[in-house]
């Protein structure tokens, strides 16, 4: 069994945070979170976990490291949260460093292990509470911390300025009008059927996705709008950092910007974690059982458009594809059948990865792990060999990936393991195949 101490990764965010810790401060903060924010759920998990190890094979980290028990879900919970609970917060700053590294970079909060635990223990929840404690101690990997600072100060993930956001939309609108002469990206249109929301990396460096979405909306004749004011970014790294106060601020801004425009519903782009933040974590923090504005994920939205015959394609995608099931919309929202119907509508041949649907392996980028940046890239690469094997076994070259995080994660894995594959959003494929005006 390897030990987390032997694979300590240097990170300024973790190191600087730990440097200003004292045992007293740790004890105080740990108990403050345990008493103030956790309750019966965590207590029962710790007590009834039978230490049977059945969850181990659920975790891609464990599978990818030749069954190294150090990476099993129960061990990660034991070395972090259970240790904090047993010792009542009496641990050393260096231990906090290692716990933070484990919680932030060796667990994707993907909850795949939930399918393996007979008791019903949610290791993802346990690890997110470890992150919460580390955040309260100011021990957070530097890259993701910067991202959450961006959220806190600009209300978007990428330090995008308010005017740049509008500029990007208008730029894409302008570009798209070459191809679709009367296309619009309507800003702040009150009462629209659809409020289209994206994550900040789209205007920042994946603007073609906005272009494509506008083209699809246009071709399908959807009455939609995009907001010009903060609240437009549906992403939420504060959720993964453990900064729940700002997670709540972000979600409130997002919901309220939709409510202000009196739209019928929010449609969000092909992102997984953003979806988690509105149906699972952010809404609960704000006290909503379900999100206060109806929200659908792009998969479901495209599925509806296809059902209604509003997406017309010239031909099917000829090359065989496989499908990546993003945890947050499969295990998170059960969109596996709709995803398959969409992909089968668009593509001639689908070769499934095994296992698939809600039993898919995580991309290892999720849960904010990719956002912890370059210092932890190898953690993700070595930690997801199983995904590389899964991808390779399909023998295809194109992967349909309806999630931003999965895209980043899989592209890295494809490169690292030299798989010669390429990821595509559903929007990429629809755009490629759709009927376009003759010019």
């Amino acid at each position: 069994m390897s030990r987390i101490a032997d694979r300590k990764v240097a990170d300024p965010g973790l190191a600087n945070g730990v440097a200003s810790l004292t045992p007293e401060k740790i004890e105080k903060v740990v108990n403050q979170v345990l008493k103030g924010e956790t309750g019966a759920k965590l207590k029962v998990y710790q007590e009834t976990c039978m230490r049977c190890g059945l969850c181990s094979q659920g975790c891609h980290f464990y599978m990818s490291h030749d069954f190294d028990p150090s990476y099993s879900p129960v061990n990660k919970a034991t070395e972090t949260m259970y240790e904090l609970m047993n010792k009542k917060g009496k641990v050393t700053p260096d231990q906090i460093y290692l716990m933070a590294q484990m919680a932030f970079t060796e667990c994707n909060l993907c909850k795949r292990c939930a399918h393996y635990c007979p008791i019903g223990i949610d290791t993802g929840y346990i690890m997110s509470m470890v992150r919460r404690i580390c955040y309260m101690l100011d021990v957070v990997p530097q890259y993701i911390r910067d991202t959450s600072h961006s959220h806190a100060s600009t209300m978007n993930q990428m330090w995008v300025k308010d005017d740049e956001w509008i500029d990007s939309l208008q730029w894409q609108e302008d570009e798209a009008r070459d191809e679709f002469p009367d296309l619009r990206i309507p800003l702040d249109k009150e009462g629209a059927d659809v409020y289209y929301s994206v994550i900040a990396p789209e205007p920042k460096f994946r603007t073609q996705l906005i272009y494509q979405a506008a083209a699809i909306m246009h071709a399908a004749g959807v009455d939609y709008t995009m907001p010009s004011e903060p609240g437009w970014d549906n992403s939420d790294m504060c959720m993964f950092v453990g900064d729940y106060e700002n997670m709540g601020r972000l979600k409130r801004a997002h919901f309220e910007s939709a409510q202000k425009l009196r739209v019928k519903r929010i449609v969000m782009g092909e992102c997984g974690h953003a979806f988690r933040s509105v149906y699972d974590m952010g809404n609960r923090w704000l006290g909503y059982k379900n999100s206060p504005v109806p929200i659908v994920h792009a998969i479901e939205f495209y599925w509806e458009l296809i059902q209604q015959g509003k997406i017309k394609i010239t031909h099917k995608y000829e090359k065989p594809v496989t499908i990546q099931d993003p945890c947050n919309v499969m295990r998170g929202r059960g969109l596996m059948d709709k995803l398959r119907e969409v992909v089968h509508f668009l593509c001639e041949e689908v070769v499934e990865m095994i296992p698939n649907r809600e039993h898919n392996y995580c991309c290892c980028a999720g849960g904010g792990v990719i956002n912890c940046g370059p210092p932890f890239k190898n953690t993700r690469m070595e930690g997801n060999r199983i995904k590389a094997e899964q991808l390779k076994a399909t023998g295809v070259h194109d992967v349909v990936i309806p999630c931003h995080n999965c895209h980043g994660g899989l592209e890295d894995i494809i490169g690292y393991y030299d798989l010669g594959m390429h990821g595509k959003f559903i929007g990429d494929i629809i755009y490629e195949l759709m009927e376009k005006p003759e010019l």
Partner: protein, 219 residues
Amino acid sequence: MTEFYVFVSGPLAWIAWGFFIIGSIYRLVSMYALAKAKDGSSLAYMSLPYSLRSILNWLIPFNTMGWKSDPLMTVATFLFHIGFLLVAVFLGAHAVLWDTAFGISIPSLPGGFGDAVSFVVIAACAVFAYRRLALPHVKGVTRPKDWFSLILVALPFVTGVLAYHQVGPVLLMTTLHVLAGELLLALIPFTRLSHALFALLTRSYMGSEFGAVRHAKDW
């Protein structure tokens, strides 16, 4: 010795039952109060149909990812839990006790069968112990607490079988057996074995969360 046996199987038995029942109620009630105070955002999603869906699916051997992943454990744990309930409640000798102590008459296992089931349960405990000693992913997270509850569970079976087969002084063995059974009963609410109280609830919560919020299977 006989006096001691009378004490153990009389007053002490009532004390053990008292610990078990009052302890269980206390643990469940106080945990529920804590959940109401702190876990509103989880309790809100509890759903009976989804709880039952989850429990039923996990009651089928090899039906879940977890059960499929470790066949030896799956067979052992099903045999153990079913065997435990059968023996503890329906063993011939125990059925007599239900009748004399509470005046309830229940059906009982045929003698040979009860004996066989007891051996199966002991074998399952041996599998649990083997896993804790030999499998790195179990060994690494095993603490004295886990051994304690395993021994606690195995003791009444071992002593019961010895008494039944009249190995060693019968009265002593029977007394030890009754003591072991009572110790187990009394400590269920306060050890890992408290999962007998909570496991259905944690399962129900996971089932509700996956069914109602996540629209996915939790198995």
